[in-house]
Symmetry: C3
Subunit: 357 residues, 3 copies
């Protein structure tokens, strides 16, 4: 369904992935697709034996299959087909790459250091003191305030704003219209009880291999640094407040939010809409369910959900019980009636209850 | 309150709407306003007989009224005053329209095809292979990546980013700083258990008459297409993940979110903050209440709310019961005491309970 | 940790704050930092006696301390150390200030009035009829549609879009990629039951000293004005719908949302993710807890939380009771068993219950 930039032989792909081939290694692969959309010169994949039923019906010319799935056509054998398919797609359909150099319609400060292999697009603005590393891309209409540093192989998409002093490592990808380094939301109440801004004079540091989603906002620290650790992946519309310290290989799904000074340890996952109150610690490899609102720490490996925050097992029991609340009320009344307890409490309350529920 | 671009006679407006007039059709209408802000040369409307009480006090020179409301001044008679007022406003106060042509400060690729009647504003960037249809507007600082296609009469507001390969139909409006075609959030876990990006090589297709709100993000498909159907209206700050398939005439209110591969059928409504887990189907003309979190399909015409997802009737009963939980606990303790059940469970638990609740 | 633009003597800082000094007023302050990061020429602060334990261990050269904390080094004595530290930071580390004048790569309409002391950055677009007041900054790639007015000392960050007719007072700060004046989300259903856009012909008016966060969206009114009152502070990712009327000195934290025509009175606080249904009134100095969903008015001074909206005291009791729901169900069953009530309701229901909860 998506055509390759240049066709490759199945054997070459397998070799690049470090995997073996079953069947015709000379088959030419001209594109990639899901099983149900693939054509005869396209590569697809079977995630696990559970998905094998889609294989027979597929017109895919070749597939990546796990152990336990019989390859009925040319195939690459993989212990992790999802991962190897991702890598095969990266080989066959490399991302857009504008030519190296600074577009004449870009505006780059005289003292900014742009590596000769980097690319700065039309309408992009790069402020004084910035450094853009080898092969990094600053796309159209992106804005780098003064003193921003990008490592090598970064992609700063169109419309992104990196405020002054922001530091990005290597291979960082920032999706369109994300904002890194905006002012944190800090206010002191003045003599009249009205909010007065606390200047936000820290910065944001983003380590290697981080991905930041579209329209996501990561605020600069009030003092010191807001930090996003190596390999962390952040989806769209996420808000990360000032002074957060997000560890390595963390996953944060869309529309999640971290209040100020939240610490997220290595390998934790926050699902969509998860939110944390400020100054909490989310432990290593913890899991925070969708839409959970944290108001206390999560221990390493912990799995929590809900509002209020609950351990996963309790949460599922509470959620199931919630839908039975009207029934519980009715049963409680029946018990009270049997015991003669209702009469003592008065008919009026009872009537109100019936009316409300 | 809002002045007309050019005054029109009441009769001319009525004729354009296909409605009849009561009273002086020659009255000149110079602006539009709500009942309580309208002046003697302005047109207002009465949505339904329920809103008629505002009419007597209004200084409006003319009104659009439904059956059942006595016109006490020049009036247009309408079976749907809200709709006809919207259309009258469109006649009297047409949207801003920059002049046709490419601004000398825009940056348009040599091979892009821009219709002569279209407008491309200062700072806008239009990539190679793009096509911009008749009378479409690409406003200042918008960015079209390579191979983007716009139909006729589209409005792409300032700061919007349309990533490579995005297809828009006719009359599509994209509000400022929205992002269409950003990478989907797809990761495979590598040998060390760390997230590795799955290239997102699909695209976004938006059909005719769609509206997309400010800072809304619609991700490109991993493979294949993310699709937004004809006539669908999407508010601000909405997140639509990769491979979603949103049908025709759907309404999605602010800050809602759809996880990957959600299917939304024709005419469904998702209220503000509604969210869907991935791979669900929201049936035709279904209604999803504000802040609901879906974890299973919604049947056609279904009305669901809440977290967990509940049918509307149950939801209202559960919500009412929730506020009575502390009272229920107290009553349950009284019952247990009467039956001598509490003693058996120990005073300690009881004390803890008092402390917590 | 953050160095001063120019060093100042402690006594000079105290004088500017109107406070007294204990110890060496001639000490040179070269930067600002939190207690645990401050060096010997840096100023820090102790928020309240509760935070005094960090002082002894700090290497800070000077501190701002409240009554009740013994200054063990040069110090400024303050009744409100947080506020005075904020003001000291503003003195020592003033925000970036690009040079006055219009960058040659900006695009400013011939009839726009730009004060000679104002600054318009590269790639910024300022439409016809705009006015930019004294010392205001329009940063790179910001877009002002026609007829936008900024007062004095405003900062419009990169990527911000101000739609036509928007009015900003003095000292308004708009963080990157925020959108002010996008179309409100208004639709009438047409003859086929499909949504048809209601033109949004009102505007947004923002009074003095307002702050608007990154990727926040404030919609223009359908008719009339959406208004943000003097001194109000709005965080990132907030959505404010058409015709809202937000009073003075209101605080709205990240990812909150106000539906159409919400009125927020002076001094109210909406915590992160708080949401309001349309046409509600949130009273003066009311407090709306994080993630609360309002469906009715909040009285002046009221404190509400939750979904459904509850008074603070009830909310805390309900939340505590929720986690005990599975236990309550079990106890209710025990009571029913003792009374012989369960048998009458059938074993099947009971089995289902055990399975679910």
């Amino acid at each position: 369904m998506t055509r390759a930039a240049r066709p490759m032989r199945l054997g070459e792909i397998a070799e690049r992935l470090g995997r073996g081939v079953a069947g015709d290694a000379a088959l030419t692969i001209g594109g990639v697709a899901a099983l149900d959309g693939a054509g005869p010169d396209e590569l697809s994949f079977v995630r696990s034996p559970r998905w094998a039923k889609g294989l027979a019906a597929s017109r895919a010319g070749a597939v990546i299959v796990p152990a336990g799935v019989e390859p009925d056509r040319p195939a690459i054998l993989s212990p992790n087909p999802g991962l190897d398919f991702a890598r095969a797609v990266a080989l066959l359909v490399p991302p857009l790459r504008p030519p190296a150099g600074v577009d004449p319609r870009a505006c780059v400060a005289a003292d900014a250091e742009i590596d000769a292999s980097a690319s700065v697009g039309a309408g992009a603005v790069v402020g004084p003191g910035c450094r853009v590393g080898a092969r990094s891309l600053v796309l159209a209409n992106a804005t780098l305030y003064p003193d921003v540093t990008l490592g090598a192989d970064c992609t700063i998409h169109a419309g992104v704003v990196l405020r002054e002093g922001t530091r990005l490592g290597d291979r960082v990808v920032v999706q369109p219209n994300a904002v890194v380094g905006g002012d944190g939301f800090g206010f002191a109440f003045d003599e009249r009880g009205e909010p007065e801004k606390i200047p936000q004079v820290g910065r944001v540091v983003v380590e290697d291999d981080v991905e930041i989603g579209a329209c996501t906002t990561i605020d600069r620290a009030a003092l010191g640094e807001t930090r996003i650790g190596r390999g962390t992946k952040i989806d769209n519309g996420v808000q990360i407040a000032h002074n957060c310290d997000v560890g390595e290989a963390v996953v944060i799904v869309a529309q999640a939010g971290l209040a100020g000074s939240t610490v997220v340890e290595r390998g934790a996952m926050l699902m969509a809409r998860a939110a944390s109150a400020g100054h909490l610690r989310i432990g290593e490899r913890a899991f925070v369910g969708a839409a959970a609102s944290l108001h206390r720490d999560v221990k390493p490996g912990g799995r929590v959900w809900g509002t209020p925050q609950m351990e996963e097992r309790l949460f599922h029991r509470v959620v199931a019980a919630m839908t039975r609340l009207p029934d519980m009320l009715r049963r409680l009344r029946a018990v009270e009636k049997k015991l003669g307890l209702r009469a003592a409490r008065g008919e009026r309350a009872d009537a109100g209850e019936e009316g409300e529920v």
